[in-house]
Structures are given as C-alpha cells and as structure tokens.
C-alpha cells in the first residue's frame, strides 16, 4: 500500500511541474506569484502523501511549514518587489 501513496505523490509532482510552464509563457510578476501559490499548495499535498507513504510523521510538520513559507514569500514579494509602487514609496 505505501507504494501507491508514493505513486500518487509522483503524479501530483508531475502536475505541479506542468503548472510551472506558466512562468515561461507568463507575462509578468503576478504570474510568478500565482505559480508560487500553486507550487506551495501542491507541495503540501505531496509532503502529506509522502508522510503517510514513508511512515514518517515528522513530514506533516514540514508540510505545514512549507505552506506557511510559501505565503510569507508571496507577501514579501508583493511588498518589496516594486509591483506595489505606492507602498514602496511609503516605505521610504
């Protein structure tokens, strides 16, 4: 049974990789953020599947961490990348 969990995780990973194509055909920074969101959510699912499939309960904490880090990264990117020029001026 554990093998099928690894297989499910692999399919999910392939899906995410396909989603990253959007970065190459995308038009701007918002596209990168969307791809990052996709990557974050799917990575959580992949790691949860691995936690069950490989009998490693610690990976569940890692899943939580990955999800939160993806959100924090998106917030930091919006704040400091110059997409939001008004707020960038406020900061100075």
């Amino acid at each position: 049974m554990p093998d099928s969990h690894l297989f499910a995780a692999l399919i999910l990973l392939a899906t995410v990789t396909a989603g990253l194509v959007r970065i190459f055909i995308g038009t701007g920074r918002v596209e990168w953020l969307l791809a990052l969101q996709l990557l974050g959510t799917s990575a959580v699912a992949v790691v949860l599947l691995l936690a069950h499939g490989m009998q490693m309960p610690g990976l569940r904490d890692l899943a939580l961490l990955i999800g939160l880090l993806a959100s924090i990264l998106a917030v930091a990117f919006v704040r400091y990348s110059g997409i939001d020029s008004n707020q960038a001026q406020d900061r100075r």
Partner: protein
C-alpha cells in the same frame, strides 16, 4: 473499506489539482487564473487531506491534517487578496500612464 474511501478522496483531490493546473495554463487573463487556482487547489488539498485522515487510523493525526488544511486555506486566501489588489493597482497605473 475505509481505506478505499480514503483512496477515492485522494484521487478526487489529485483530479482537482490537475484541473487547477490546466486552468492556470489555459485561462485567458490573470483574474480568472487566480480564481481557478485558489479554489481548485485548496479543494484538492482538502480532499487529499481528508483521504489521508481516513487512512491514518488515528483521531489525533486526522485533526492535525484538518488543522493543516485550515491554516493553509487561511494563508492562501489572504495572499490571493493581496495579489489581486496589487494586480488591479498595477493595471490601473498602466492605464493612467498611457
């Protein structure tokens, strides 16, 4: 039996992830893509977590999976609002400058 129901949920979740990815690649503009991505992906994660919770065989782990899903959903919702707001602002500034 419970194991099979769990698998049903996991496969359903993977299908949702797949549709989210296809939407991200195929949809015409930024806001429709964001709409597809945030809803389909969080639902997919919810289904995968629910399936794993059924297979875990422990209430503690099931609750933890539920908690992980809720926190990710909360974070993802706030981030999507942030992205949408800045995207709209950027578009407006581009219109003003032309």
């Amino acid at each position: 039996m419970i194991d099979s129901i769990g698998w049903f949920f996991i496969v359903l979740g993977i299908i949702f992830f797949l549709s989210g990815t296809i939407a991200l690649i195929r949809f015409p503009d930024m806001f429709t893509r964001m709409h597809a991505l945030t809803k389909a992906d969080n639902l997919g994660l919810g289904f995968v977590a629910a399936g794993l919770a059924l297979q875990a065989g422990s209430v503690f782990i099931a609750l933890k999976l539920l908690l992980i899903w809720l926190i990710i959903m909360l974070a993802s919702a706030s981030v999507s609002h942030l992205i949408a707001r800045t995207a709209r602002k950027t578009i407006r500034e581009q219109k003003d400058s032309t």
